[in-house]
């Protein structure tokens, strides 16, 4: 039987580094995808993921299993992502569309099914790019909610806990976000 995240954290408090490795292996993929969907840059998402794990490790001594580990972890990740996005906005760095263009090569090749027919592959990539583009254009507060609920399977009350806001706010942001996404995706077709 697999140990819970909270049990692994308590083990880590006793100095067992293997439990940290288990946590990393368990959460590396969901965390990377969450950061990627938030910042729309794989390399940056990888750095953010590492920073999240570092912060988790550094907070081991003060960790108390009062809330779910995943909630705590996503709160750290969300704050980091929002900080990075805010800094990018302030510095007026490469606009988010530039990422969409620059990332159409390279990393995306890994996602393409080599067994698929050429048309299907192109279509799949096109849809994926549309989704990425639409999600990147969502306001950050809606993007967080949509990503956590739709892709990371977090419940509304957990998202409310992560964002430290009422559930009603989360639900209204989710509805507004999906409505906006729906419009953007239909416009792109």
């Amino acid at each position: 039987m697999e140990k819970s995240d909270e049990a692994l954290m308590l083990q880590l408090q006793t100095g067992d580094l293997l439990s940290f490795d288990t946590l990393v292996k368990r959460w590396e993929k969901p965390l990377l995808n969450y950061c990627y969907r938030m910042v729309n840059d794989v390399a940056l998402a990888e750095d953010l993921r590492q920073e999240v794990f570092l912060r988790i490790y550094r907070s081991t001594k003060t960790y108390r299993p009062t809330a779910q580990f995943s909630t705590w972890m996503y709160r750290i990740a969300t704050n980091l992502c929002l900080d990075i996005l805010a800094k990018q906005r302030r510095r007026k760095e490469t606009p988010i569309d530039a990422y969409l263009e620059s990332e159409s090569d390279g990393f995306d090749e890994r996602l393409i099914d080599p067994s698929g027919a050429p048309d299907a592959v192109v279509l799949k990539k096109e849809i994926k790019d549309r989704v990425r583009s639409a999600l990147a254009r969502l306001p950050e507060n809606q993007r967080v909610v949509v990503t956590l609920r739709h892709y990371n399977d977090m419940k509304f009350h957990e998202i409310a806990e992560i964002l430290e806001c009422p559930i009603s706010t989360v639900k209204s942001r989710m509805a507004a976000g999906l409505e906006r996404l729906s419009k953007m995706l239909s416009e792109q077709e």
Binding site: V24, Y36, R49, K128, R130, H150, F156
Partner: protein
């Protein structure tokens, strides 16, 4: 309730986070609201499109992460073996001895004095000194000696005063203790004397009373004999 509320309910239902009563209420609304029904359809399509975004996978380098969280200690240069240290020490001593020998041979005098290491080359010439200068130096030395003696005496006197003070304090304490003992002795003697005087007084009172009674009986006898003699004479 307005459509905005129901659209939130539609979203909740799509993620299976709506209770039975709310579902019933939503179902009833959808039967009457064409726009919300369309929203539900488009929402399902949007969610299906969102699912097309496959997840990326880039495993983290655990070793690199370990290096960041627990930096490895800096590697120190290999330590020299003990015999190498010994060889270096012997070599250093030899060089020092050789250097001092060379310095002595060329007439350089190296001394460790109060003011540190001194170097003197060749013989030191003794300067001429006058009688007056000698007297002045002797007087200065004498004065310095006197000052030193005075300082020593002063110190000894201070020490003696301290010891005397301590001795006097001890004597004072002893005298106080003796006075207390004497006072206690006198007090107890006084109590004893008072007890003795009380006993004597009681004894004296008893003897006086007995004597008084005897005298009274003698008077009564004399009186009785005089009365009987007077009565006899009258007869």
């Amino acid at each position: 309730m307005d459509c905005r509320f129901f659209r939130e309910q539609i979203v909740s239902e799509s993620y299976d986070q709506l209770d039975a009563d709310a579902k019933k209420s939503l179902k009833a609304h959808l039967q009457t609201c064409r726009e919300c029904e369309q929203f539900q359809v488009s929402l399902n399509e949007t969610q299906q499109t969102l699912d097309q975004w496959e997840e990326v996978d880039s495993p983290i380098d655990i070793e690199a992460l370990h290096d960041v969280i627990q930096p490895k200690p800096l590697s120190l240069p290999p330590q020299l073996p003990a015999w190498r240290w010994l060889a270096w020490g012997v070599a250093a001593c030899l060089i020092l001895t050789l250097s001092l020998s060379v310095l002595a041979w060329i007439g350089v005098d190296v001394k460790w004095a109060d003011r540190g290491l001194t170097l003197r080359i060749g013989q030191e010439s003794v300067p001429e000194i006058t009688e007056q200068e000698l007297v002045r130096l002797l007087q200065a030395e004498r004065h310095a000696t006197q000052v030193e003696i005075v300082k020593q005496l002063q110190g000894a006197l201070d020490e003696f005063s301290k010891q005397l003070q301590v001795h006097l304090e001890e004597r004072q304490k002893q005298a106080d203790a003796q006075l207390v003992l004497i006072y206690q002795g006198l007090q107890s003697q006084r109590v004893q004397d008072l007890g003795f005087i009380r006993q004597e007084l009681q004894h004296l009172a008893g003897a006086t009373e007995a004597e008084f009674l005897e005298t009274q009986r003698a008077f009564e006898f004399i009186l009785a004999s005089h009365v009987s003699e007077i009565q006899k004479n009258m007869k």
